[in-house]
Symmetry: C2
Subunit: 764 residues, 2 copies
């Protein structure tokens, strides 16, 4: 082709129409979303039935005291894969639905959390709940002890006695008090999990309360710690076991008081709230900062389909279903590419934040965040900030306190035009490039101080990227004598070193369920070749292995990234005889837990010990963690190590459990908040010999420019679309955040479908 | 604040004006760009002077034969840091400018490349060139032997004799010939570097030529290899040393011919060009693919400044100068943040692609790409594909063949609105988020088959990201018996395993030149605490070290990312007593070279053996590599190992040499081209305790939304700008690629400033 060709091959439309309004295209999912949340009616019927069963002896959550049983959760019990595949792949019936119920059984000197399974629909007279045991390695009737049962009112009373006993000191040191009064300026909280090897031990510490609405409380530790033995449910048997200040332990209040008032006692400074801990704009904006920055637009509307009823999404050649749970938030199911399932289930299992320090509160803290729940805290997204202006949104629901909450617009969907092409090549005659347009589904969960952003990205080459970012406030430490654990970041403040490790389940089904994890390692070798004249050459080659059984199933990324891990189906080769598969690798650096045999966790987070794991899929091993692991760390409901019992992994239905995460040694750049750009970790899941060529060639979002002689170009656009419309006022594209709502709540017991109402204050 | 506030605090403008035309704001750099390329006049004067000096005995490049001396390069000699700091920091004079000249001295039985230094301006009668020796560890008058001197015409003649000797076989196997004729359908080429330990040995192989303009030649190997001993300049002394086919070595043509025509000889299939190797669109576009995808716009214009004359750029609180060289393309200089220099020099040093295989061509290939040059191949960028539609562009120039080439629009500058915020935090009362607007300067260099995209990204927290992506065509291997080195990816084709390692110089100057590399490592410990009741607790802590001298200066990223590497100035602490510094870490996985003591490279790429290196800065050690390392791999001009001579590194001017790269075992997804999304590696350079708080707070591109009760919002926008304009026709925002030019060339000898002209065909 020579000379100047038409710039847009299909530029036949006029350009005076308004640009499309964003909004996903509608589609009907081909199957029922078997992972869909319970309907309001389902959840209400279960709640009503449970309350009707006197054996459960339930009290409404808002009325329940420390010695009352209450209902913690009613949610869909994830159906067994066996049943789901029978439905999806073999035309079998929809799997029967079960409610997963958790009862907080506190009307007992030995309180426990009770997992129950309730068949749906509720049929009065025939419905029977059963203990939910099969998904747990610990076979104790679905029961886990409850260490918190008396740590509400009883603990407050007891704790304020302690804090009152040193009121003179808190006033002297910090002009503050923690007495349970409205004018308290101090807060008291401490470790999680509680220490469990020698009775049930709490360590708590004093914190200044923030002086504004800003959430800076975790930046205000005061450096005085106390130990309480809270074993058992009788507060009169609890013991106060000592103070720690400036790295000195005082076994009694008398001893600490005597020291405090003795000459030369070193009083340490306080951490005081202020604008240094607030996120509001401060300081001189950089040059041109007030000019409106670039923004992305979707002038031709959205290019993906959703079935909001079935929580089904289809973008280009990808499609999947969404589920949403209290514990872990959003998960993806039955992810297909070009009509073939690649992943049966992809989702967060647990998130660990393991701290360390010289003080017992930092040393003793190892949050397992599903205890608090991710789904619970998936707030409405901030349009134009959390997601691009043109994103579309889905709601999510979760159960808590006898209500189903709806987080409006808490899941966003959007395409991004990467600022670089997905492929390009130049020669002296032509240049060819293809746009990198990728699709993201995202939610953000704020578990206390930290905001986790979970993004699943889909690419036109068939790749999936699991991306986790962390922002929000650090949990900081008092700076006294903790130099081996921190940087000193403010007046009397230090960052508190911690490891974030987040476990994801990736249930691969590569062209069927019979799959094998293979490795390919670059190794240096010294090798003589037929042509090398008898001389050995220092070079490299590939070493290949297979993970044949669960004894070999605990894996770490190799040093220097030398090993490729690829899940293949050995029964399915491509045209050139290579196993078709998907590779898994870090897309940005990941970690596993630094700590060996953690005293805090014992057996509660054995999934954090390596980078990735391969196990045989079992309906009885659906998850690597349980929200109440922290309640009995030595004997948690799920001891992940017990998944590894030597089972064959060659051409079996295998599950990969992979960790993302980061070591975090907070520094001044983490003030006031940690940055998503830095606290970032991800996994790529990418086709390897899955096709005979890259599907990237199928998109028309590419161009070839032929050139030569310096003044001639021939532009081939392959039938790509034209943004033939008028945007108009750019400001109109920017979401109006005055419509930000917070939370919608539907009360479920007593259930009145006619009165849904907003109740954002109820969110903790 | 309660109730509904005004959505945009400063929304006082009308919204009916047209959006700004992109284009960087103008600024005058405060200092002369001492790294700026030679002017046309400078380069021409040097060329004229060199040609006037009979001692150099120069012939014009286009006329020069194998026994003529010619001029390979005239470029600015990078000024010594000592002189530059005297100018920039102490008001001293502009450093004197020198031209760096390379002469290809071939009029000699022992040909060599000669590096010369010529003082500027040229003063006839007084100018004297000197051997350029000081930047090289090998002290041989700036001379490197030239192994290629007779590998042009003489080699062609010789090689076509070899290929003609088996014409019957090439016709029989591939219906093709390589005879140096216009109707040749075969190509012949082979290893780089040449083997040098036993004479000078070539291994070459046959390739099918592409059948279209598409650059698919590297996908068409044919599996027949031959060995030539090309020692010395007399082709009559060269020897033909054998054939290799199907992993069988035949020492003579007679032997291979006898085998070929013997019964049972296994003839292997050919790799045939076709659409499988072409990048043009093929196959069914995915659903909605022809709808125009999202695109980013800069409705309010560009928010950065450039001084195109001085190649100076300022974005927000960052500023820097650009230089451009033949060898390595774009480098950045004097990078300041908030007025303080952070990095004196940041730029590519060398790129290695080390292959391996069972055949001698793959096994013998270890490209050191500065031999070909990055600057030479930094073509015009494809607007809207290589960079967003609204990017602005700078030109770059480089010298080759007595001309200064100008690559028009070969450097792009732009901001990106990340599709996630840089920070956010939700509570039950408010949500706060800050946009992640970052700045990129980018160029793309296509060195033969591979397209390297180099992006330097700048963030509002003071971070810099060095980002390298690779696309283009793989160099593939013939598939016979090479199963230990590849996947089988097409008919008779395999990927050829290789390591990409790219070395970057990062000359940190953290608040002065006296800096120290420190490490902080997360280590598991078992520790008794004053409060732990005598019990040891399994936890972790930090272990800190300093890299005190060059004996400790070769470093690898620790397993599990356990070690933080931070360059600090120990004489400058922040308000809390921590050393101010910048940390360096992988932003996406990086590698160093797998091969140990590479037979191909010997001492030519010792910089590839570890992940990062720390050395003392010396004006005599400006670069880790030289473009002619390949000519004498055992004794290259720069043996990087010799930089390490035990010098003190504590509070000295230190340089970090850091590698990015990836292991690449090509699979079918690399057909037709490798993807930028997958072949990606990067380094983050990020402030650590550099300030007392994050500068992110200074931007107004943030929002706080107060909420509660479900229907009230208060939106605080901190004075941020409004995109108050009409975009109009979106199509008008999309660059017109029919203006893509290719290359502009200004001939320099004979020099006629009145006749610049386009000559894209001259680009190789």
């Amino acid at each position: 082709m020579n000379g100047q060709t038409k710039r847009w091959i299909n530029d036949t439309t006029t350009t005076d129409s308004s640009c499309a309004t964003p909004g996903a295209q509608s589609i009907r999912a081909s199957a029922f979303n078997v992972w869909s949340s319970l309907t309001d009616v389902e959840a209400a019927s279960v709640a009503a039935w449970l309350f009707s069963q006197t054996a459960f002896n339930l009290t409404g959550t808002e009325d329940a005291g420390e010695w009352d049983n209450s209902l913690l959760m009613i949610e869909l019990m994830e159906p067994n894969k066996t049943d789901v595949l029978n439905y999806l792949d073999y035309g079998g019936p929809e799997p029967e639905r079960y409610a997963h119920v958790i009862i907080d059984h506190r009307a007992d000197v030995d309180p426990y959390y009770q997992d129950l399974l309730v068949p749906l629909p509720i049929q009065n007279g025939t419905t029977e709940a059963e203990f939910l045991t099969y998904p747990y390695t610990r076979k104790t009737n679905g029961q886990v002890r409850n260490l918190d049962a008396s740590l509400d009112a009883d603990w407050s009373t007891w704790m304020y006695n302690v804090t009152a006993s040193i009121l003179d000191i808190t006033l002297d040191l910090w002009s503050g008090s923690a007495l349970g009064l409205d004018n308290d300026t101090l807060d008291v909280w401490g470790i999680d999990p509680l220490m469990q090897d020698d009775g049930i031990i709490r360590w708590d510490t004093f914190w200044n309360l923030p002086t504004s609405e800003m959430d800076s409380g975790t930046l205000l530790p005061l450096g005085l710690f106390f130990k309480s033995n809270v074993t058992g449910r009788d507060p009169s048997l609890w013991t106060f076991d000592g103070w720690l200040y400036n790295d000195i332990f005082y076994p009694t209040t008398d001893a600490s008081r005597a020291a405090y008032y003795s000459p030369g006692f070193e009083k340490l400074p306080a951490n005081i709230d202020g604008s240094w801990g607030w996120t509001d704009q401060m300081g001189t904006p950089p040059p041109l900062d007030t000019v409106y920055p670039p923004l992305a637009i979707a002038s031709s509307g959205s290019r993906y389909f959703t079935d909001a009823d079935q929580q089904y999404v289809k973008w280009m050649d990808f499609e999947f279903y969404i589920s949403f749970s209290r514990d872990t938030g959003m998960r993806l199911h039955n992810i297909k590419y070009k009509g073939e399932r690649v992943i049966y289930e992809l989702g967060l299992q647990e998130a660990l934040a393991h701290y360390a320090g010289n003080d017992p509160v930092q040393s003793g803290t190892s949050y397992l965040d599903t205890f608090y729940g991710f789904g619970t805290y998936a707030f409405e997204l901030v349009k134009g900030y959390d997601c691009p202006t043109y994103a579309t949104y889905l709601n999510s629901t979760f159960y808590t306190s006898e209500t189903t909450h709806t987080h409006i617009d808490s899941i966003c969907l959007f395409e991004t035009e990467g600022n670089y092409p997905i492929q390009r090549h130049s020669t002296s005659q032509y240049v060819a490039a293809t746009k990198n347009i990728y699709f993201t589904i995202r939610n953000v969960c704020t578990v206390g101080n930290y905001d986790y952003m979970f993004s699943y990205e889909f690419y036109i080459d068939g790749s999936i990227n699991v991306d986790v970012r962390a922002s929000g406030y650090i949990q900081s430490a008092y700076f006294a004598k903790n130099q081996d654990y921190r940087y000193h970041i403010h007046d009397a403040l230090s960052g508190s070193m911690h490891d974030h490790v987040l476990n994801f389940k990736i249930d691969f089904d590569i062209l069927g369920t019979a799959n094998t994890m293979t490795t390919t390692t670059n190794v240096p070798v010294s090798e003589v070749y037929p042509w090398s004249n008898g001389k050995a050459r220092d070079t490299m080659k590939l070493q290949r292995t297979e993970i044949t059984n669960e004894d070999e199933g605990k894996l770490d990324w190799n040093g220097n990234g030398a090993t490729q891990f690829t899940v293949v189906n050995k029964d399915v080769t491509n045209a050139f005889g290579e196993y078709r598969g998907y590779r898994i690798l870090p897309s940005s650096p990941t970690i596993h837990l630094t700590v060996l045999n953690s005293s805090n966790l014992v057996n509660a987070a054995n999934w954090a010990k390596h980078d990735l794991f391969v196990t045989r899929q079992h309906d009885t091993e659906p998850r690597s963690s349980h929200p109440y692991q922290s309640q009995d760390v030595a004997n948690p409901p799920i001891n992940f190590d017990e998944f590894f019992d030597g089972e064959n992994l060659e051409q079996e239905d295998i599950v990969v459990w992979a960790n993302v995460g980061m070591h975090h040694v907070p520094h001044t750049g983490d003030l006031p908040t940690t940055l998503f750009t830095i606290a970032h970790s991800g996994l790529a899941i990418t086709p390897l010999n899955y096709f005979e060529t890259s599907p990237v060639k199928e998109t028309v979002n590419m161009v070839r420019v032929d050139y030569g002689g310096g003044n001639t170009s021939n532009v081939v656009t392959f039938g790509q679309g034209v943004p033939a419309c008028i945007v108009g006022d750019v400001e109109s594209l920017v979401p109006d955040l005055s419509e930000y709502l917070g939370d919608s709540v539907v009360r479920k017991f007593p259930y009145d479908p006619n009165e849904p109402y907003y109740e954002t204050d109820s969110i903790e």
